[in-house]
Symmetry: C2
Subunit: 166 residues, 2 copies
């Protein structure tokens, strides 16, 4: 994944947390995650496709997910329930939507989010992609955003039926 | 999710397991999964987007994932490693590719797969979608395929910049 594609995702995460949750994230140093290291208890996963193929994983610790849901629903939260799932899915969705607007050269569209729970869960990418993990901290705890994005070769335009010669 | 959209996914799963792994799956009764029920140890997740938004989750028990990887790599497998991640990601990718060809009205493209591991992991969908889970059995163990697919309203064609009037 090319480094210049990281910034649209960083900007998207900062902006979504600021405008939707009223909290300022502090970005840490991006890194390439080693395999099979569980880092958080809840993760929103959403796909991007178009002239590139990608996946965004938004991972939150339990406390951060509960506090974020409280802000969105204006109700106290003590357990990971369907509202927390909706909140994390929607945050992933908004981050993807915001980042795709800044990567318009890829004409990306966004898939349906899914949300993973489970204390020891790990999210891996196929070995031919090198996703970048961007860690953030906020007043409630920590947040990771992992992004894999692979540009499609030009011949994909032919196989997908898009005319390349007018 | 409309029932007529299930068949392309069932056909895709049966076909991918038959042609790539040489094993015949037996389909069980599709159902709507209750929340927070871990069912398998490893899951491939892949997004679909276009005139609909979707996500496919291919979940395998440990033994099935190891045996499937053995067939694909021609090497014995005893633990969930990077090759197993690649195998599960690629199976999810092939199922998505095969199903999208049968749902051409939605002009779907496929995101990058990700693969979830962890004994107690659960994969949830936002509450405004009702994904269908299709259980299968094979000689090695059990396989679930869960599909959520939401048609986009026609106005999305306008907001996404596709001309609706020639």
């Amino acid at each position: 994944m090319r480094v210049e594609y990281i910034n649209p995702f960083v900007t998207a995460v900062l902006s979504v947390f600021r405008t939707m949750l009223g909290t300022e994230l502090v970005r840490g140093q991006p890194f390439v995650k080693g395999g099979f290291q569980p880092r958080h208890q809840i993760s929103g996963v959403i796909g991007l496709s178009g002239k590139a193929r990608g996946t965004i994983v938004l991972s939150l610790d339990r406390e951060t997910a509960l506090r974020a849901t409280e802000v969105l629903t204006q109700e106290h939260r003590f357990t990971i329930d369907a509202d927390v799932i909706d909140a994390v899915g929607e945050l992933a969705n908004m981050i993807a939507g915001s980042a795709k607007a800044k990567l318009e050269q890829f004409e990306l569209s966004v898939s349906l989010p899914s949300v993973i729970t489970g204390k020891g869960h790990c999210i891996e990418f196929p070995s031919n992609t090198t996703p970048i993990c961007i860690p953030f901290d906020c007043e409630w705890g920590s947040v990771d955003v992992e992004v894999g994005l692979v540009e499609l070769p030009v011949r994909s335009a032919v196989t997908s039926g898009v005319p390349v010669l007018a």
